[in-house]
């Protein structure tokens, strides 16, 4: 489907994306880092390989829809959109600065290309379900992708969508669970015991795949940092016009992925990098090799 050359290009875009995230948040003096970094490979795959979209025509009726339900990862989404050409990369500098289209949480009334507004957690999947039902009824052949977080999954409203969606046979709905193993604070756990962080997994002790499958979702588990797994899984979930089970892609990811000092650290959920840290991040992300 995709060759390794494609992956190296995507990997490069993802490194740039991570650099924009940590750099932009640092320049704004506030923002989220861990979640956008864990989601970046998935976002790059969606915006550069999987979704039918037209950056210069964000309202194109046949476009695939994307909703970032974990709205606090907004800077990750903005970065992927900017790299893809929805707006100039330069505009990332306005993030959180006032009079900006790039709000702390995605605001559809300000930035074209956003399908809804998110921020209060747990709501995006419901809106995606509405898109999917409406598309089926109107005979529109697009796929709706909704990215949710594993911490976010603790919200009750998501579970309403999780049990209602399969009843409507919305095969044109794909949920992507960015399962990075950490939430903002979470439950204490001995450092390193899970290999993915210094707090308990948000779903520790729960057989999440069995639960989601049991609710009627077509469950696919992938490594959310391996384009060789991400792209085929996302592509395979595209079922416009077909009725059947909605797909849940459980993507195992690492919070803060890509930079040594942010990986697996719950504190980096929302934290600003100091200048020496930025320099480490820049080197680790090989930025001198991929941008001017």
């Amino acid at each position: 489907m995709t060759d390794s050359a494609d992956f190296s290009e995507l990997a490069s875009l993802a490194r740039q994306g991570r650099w924009h995230v940590i750099q932009t948040v640092s320049a704004s003096g506030a923002g989220h880092v861990g979640g956008p970094m864990s989601a970046m490979d998935l976002l790059i795959a969606l915006f550069f390989r999987v979704m039918a979209i037209r950056p210069d025509e964000p309202k194109w009726p046949d476009r695939d829809r994307f909703i970032l339900s974990k709205g606090h990862s907004a800077i990750g989404l903005y970065t992927a959109m900017a790299l893809r050409g929805f707006f100039p990369v330069e505009e990332l500098k306005t993030f959180d600065k006032g009079n900006s289209r790039l709000q702390g949480h995605p605001d559809m009334t300000k930035l074209p290309g956003l399908e809804t507004s998110t921020g209060s957690l747990g709501m995006g999947l419901s809106v995606g379900l509405g898109f999917a039902i409406a598309a089926q009824r109107k005979g529109l052949n697009f796929q709706t992708f909704v990215m949710i977080g594993d911490g976010e999954l603790q919200e009750g409203m998501i579970w309403e969508a999780l049990h209602v969606a399969p009843r409507y046979q919305v095969a044109n709905l794909t949920a992507i669970l960015d399962s990075n193993g950490l939430q903002q604070f979470g439950w204490f756990h001995e450092a390193g015991a899970t290999g993915r962080g210094d707090r308990r997994d948000p779903w520790f002790g729960v057989d999440l795949p069995a639960v989601l499958r049991g609710l009627g979702w077509n469950l696919v588990e992938i490594n959310g940092h391996d384009f060789g797994e991400i792209i085929p899984a996302l592509q395979a979930s595209k079922s416009p016009g077909r009725i059947g089970k909605p797909t849940m892609i459980l993507a195992h990811t690492i919070k803060g992925k890509g930079v040594s000092f942010t990986e697996g650290k719950f504190e980096w959920h929302s934290k600003v990098a100091a200048s020496n840290e930025l320099e480490i991040a820049r080197r680790e992300l090989q930025i001198e090799e991929v941008t001017k």
């Binding site: 605001d107 419901s126 309403e160």
Partner: protein
């Protein structure tokens, strides 16, 4: 006399014959809210969403984005309290074209008790930027509001009553957002009311007349938007204004009227409604009497507060 919930089911069923965009989403209360009438008339456009109000609100937002006009069916409390967050963030903040049919509003909810009696909804909903908040007085106004709201592009909250009440308008009624309506002439004082309480206020004005008090009644169906100048001119010749609502005295109609008058045309305003208190399970007559909203009790309070005001 027709209950507003029946008007809801009937009017949507009728409108949907001409308008293919209308869909109704229900949170498992259709046989209470009378959305079941729509389900029967247009089964393919009725979406049962289960006992999951928050998801229902979100799904409606998604469908609205694709050109549907979703009307939601549930009890008032579940919109303004349980699903307040998605209503605020997904509907109000994005100005989504979603219509909230808030059934079983106020105190008269059929023996449910305080859990299901929403006497805070107007205060909550009118505080949300961009939200249109409507409280019809009777079947004629309710039907017109549903027609208007279906055509209007943007979020609408419609306050519906469970049980029938006396009509104050006729079949020729035309709804205009922001307009106020004089329901009873009078010269001694002005009662301002909203929703189905307005018909009880007209009755109260008749009671007062027997005692030689000439009370005018002004009905405010459109809590938001409201034509402020129309309200101000209606109040102009009265030194004493009463607000009367089947709602808390805090933040609803009483709040609205006092905010406007105190800023533009200060005069004495007495707010009648629920004190800072909860309701209870009881027959309607009992509730209207105990919580001082029957025509009789409204008239009594006006007589006594008028004496105090002198």
């Amino acid at each position: 006399m027709k209950a507003l919930r029946d008007v809801f089911g009937d009017t949507l069923s009728e409108l949907a014959q001409q308008n293919p965009s209308i869909v109704v989403l229900d949170a498992d209360l259709a046989n209470s809210t009378k959305a079941d009438k729509f389900a029967q008339a247009h089964p393919d456009r009725f979406l049962e969403m289960g006992i999951a109000e928050q998801n229902m609100v979100g799904t409606a937002v998604g469908m609205a984005a694709l050109g549907f006009v979703p009307w939601l069916s549930s009890f008032t409390v579940f919109f303004t309290h349980r699903a307040a967050d998605p209503v605020r963030m997904l509907v109000a903040q994005t100005h989504a074209n979603v219509k909230i049919g808030a059934a079983y509003s106020g105190l008269l909810t059929g023996y449910t008790g305080k859990t299901h009696q929403d006497v805070e909804d107007l205060a909550i909903m009118r505080a949300m930027p961009g939200m249109t908040v409507l409280a019809p007085a009777d079947e004629f106004e309710c039907a017109e509001m549903i027609r208007w709201a279906t055509d209007y592009v943007g979020p609408v909250y419609l306050r519906l009553a469970r049980d029938p009440n006396a009509a104050v308008f006729g079949p020729d009624y035309v709804f205009q957002p922001g307009a106020v309506h004089q329901l009873h002439e009078g010269s001694d004082l002005l009662m301002i009311s909203t929703g189905t309480q307005s018909s009880r206020c007209v009755e109260a004005a008749r009671e007062l007349k027997k005692e030689g008090i000439s009370a005018a009644v002004l009905h405010v169906p459109s809590i938001k938007p409201l034509r402020q100048e129309d309200l101000l001119s209606a109040c102009e010749k009265f030194d004493l204004v009463f607000t009367v609502e089947e709602h808390s005295r805090l933040g609803g109609l009483g709040g609205l009227v006092t905010e406007i008058l105190s800023e533009h045309s200060p005069r004495r305003v007495v707010r009648l409604g629920l004190q800072d208190e909860w309701g209870e399970s009881a027959p309607n007559d009992f509730l209207l009497d105990k919580y001082r909203l029957s025509a009789q009790r409204v008239a009594e309070q006006i007589v006594s507060r008028r004496k105090q005001a002198r």
